[in-house]
């Protein structure tokens, strides 16, 4: 069957898509919890204040992806960017090499899919990239705190995946 085309999420979704504790895949104090913070920037280097990010760990977790707050964990999180383009997730390290990150925003007619690697390492995707672009998929930081900026366009443009 023929696919349904994508359209932009638009600027006015924050009364609808965010939900309580959506950015917390694990509760505070969870063993092994890390925070992943960053900013979404446009082609002029300006922050994108109306993006929605979704993080996926590749496994469902204890329960459905909408309910939170009773100490259980989910493999899915969502975070709308703040006026300064920033976002935060509290999560755990993935079982594999990377976390999957999807970006929606006004001006994006289709979502963007990328990966967050917490460390540089041999990897089929990373090893196939131009060396200059490899670093765009690798978070900085260590221990419990990591940072990862999403640059939609231009200098240091994040590698996005064809899907």
């Amino acid at each position: 069957m023929k696919l349904t085309p994508s359209q932009t999420v638009g600027p006015f979704f924050s009364h609808a898509l965010p939900y309580p504790h959506d950015w917390e895949l694990v509760p505070p104090g969870h063993p092994g919890a890390i925070t992943l913070t960053g900013r979404v920037l446009d082609g002029a280097g300006e922050p994108v204040p109306d993006a929605l990010l979704e993080l996926w760990l590749g496994r469902a977790g204890d329960r459905g992806a909408l309910l939170r707050g009773d100490g259980q964990v989910s493999g899915f999180g969502r975070c709308a960017t703040a006026p300064d383009g920033s976002f935060t997730f509290r999560t755990v390290r993935p079982e594999g090499a990377y976390l999957s990150l999807q970006v929606f925003a006004r001006g994006l007619l289709r979502s963007l899919l990328t990966r967050v690697y917490l460390e540089d390492r041999p990897d089929p995707l990373l090893d196939g990239l131009e060396p200059a672009r490899r670093g765009t998929l690798i978070a900085t930081g260590s221990g419990e705190r990591y940072e990862f900026d999403v640059r939609l366009q231009g200098d240091g443009e994040t590698v996005f995946l064809d899907f």
Binding site: M1, P11, F12, A16, R63, L66, S74, L108, Q153, L161
Partner: protein
């Protein structure tokens, strides 16, 4: 080509947000986590979440409608138990969003957000009111045709789709750079719902149908 290109200059916001580099193809990796997706339970969604006319003390103003359809994969198989989220402007064309500056009235009885899970046939159903058209500042005298925003998960993170549903016969559709960003006319038509007398309930609500077909795996032709 089904999907719009990222850069579609008629829609001004794409100019600084569209990636300049082409996307990089996945390596053939059956273990890629993007080929799986989050799971939602029926206990997570309230029975009234799919009725946007019953979320407040009174009924919203506007033309009551129902919208139903099936979420299908590219082989036509139903996708059951997947989350469908819907949001929209009110009947006057105003979103219940703090940054919407359109000088049209808010409706205290309408938030304009709902969700449901598909049933075993992949079917969803919402009751809501028909949204109004509204102006935006993309270009001189720019108006969005009436539309409902849909967010659908599917079975894989690569199937994730956010789109907009339009209403048949809306005279604003040919002038809308967002709908017209879809290059192919028959693909644009797939974003237009069908009015259905069969779904229309006497003395109650007009009925529209709108199916959504999700892509499946990377590299599959679309």
């Amino acid at each position: 080509m089904t999907h719009p290109p990222y850069l579609s200059p008629g829609y001004r916001s794409t100019v600084l947000r569209a990636p300049a580099q082409p996307p990089v193809a996945f390596k053939t990796d059956p273990d890629a986590i993007e080929l799986t997706g989050p799971v939602f339970g029926h206990h997570e969604v309230g029975a009234l979440d799919a009725d946007l006319t019953r979320q407040h003390a009174g009924e919203p103003l506007g033309e009551r409608i129902s919208v139903t359809g099936r979420i299908l994969d590219s082989s036509g198989r139903p996708i059951r138990d997947t989350l469908v989220e819907l949001w929209q402007a009110n009947a006057a064309g105003r979103y219940a969003h703090e940054r919407d500056q359109h000088p049209a009235p808010l409706d205290p009885n309408f938030t304009g957000a709902g969700r449901c899970l598909t049933d075993e046939d992949g079917r969803y159903r919402f009751v809501t009111i028909k949204p109004g058209a509204y102006p935006w500042r993309n270009h001189h005298n720019a108006w969005r045709p009436a539309h409902l925003h849909f967010s659908v998960f599917g079975r894989a993170f690569t199937e994730r789709l956010v789109t907009q549903m339009y209403f048949p016969g809306d005279p604003l559709m040919p002038f809308d750079p967002i709908l017209q960003s879809v290059p192919n006319e028959s693909a644009r038509q797939r974003l237009v719902s069908a009015f259905s007398m069969e779904l229309t309930e006497p003395e109650w609500a007009l009925g529209y149908s709108f199916d959504i077909v999700l892509g499946s795996t990377p590299m599959e032709s679309s």
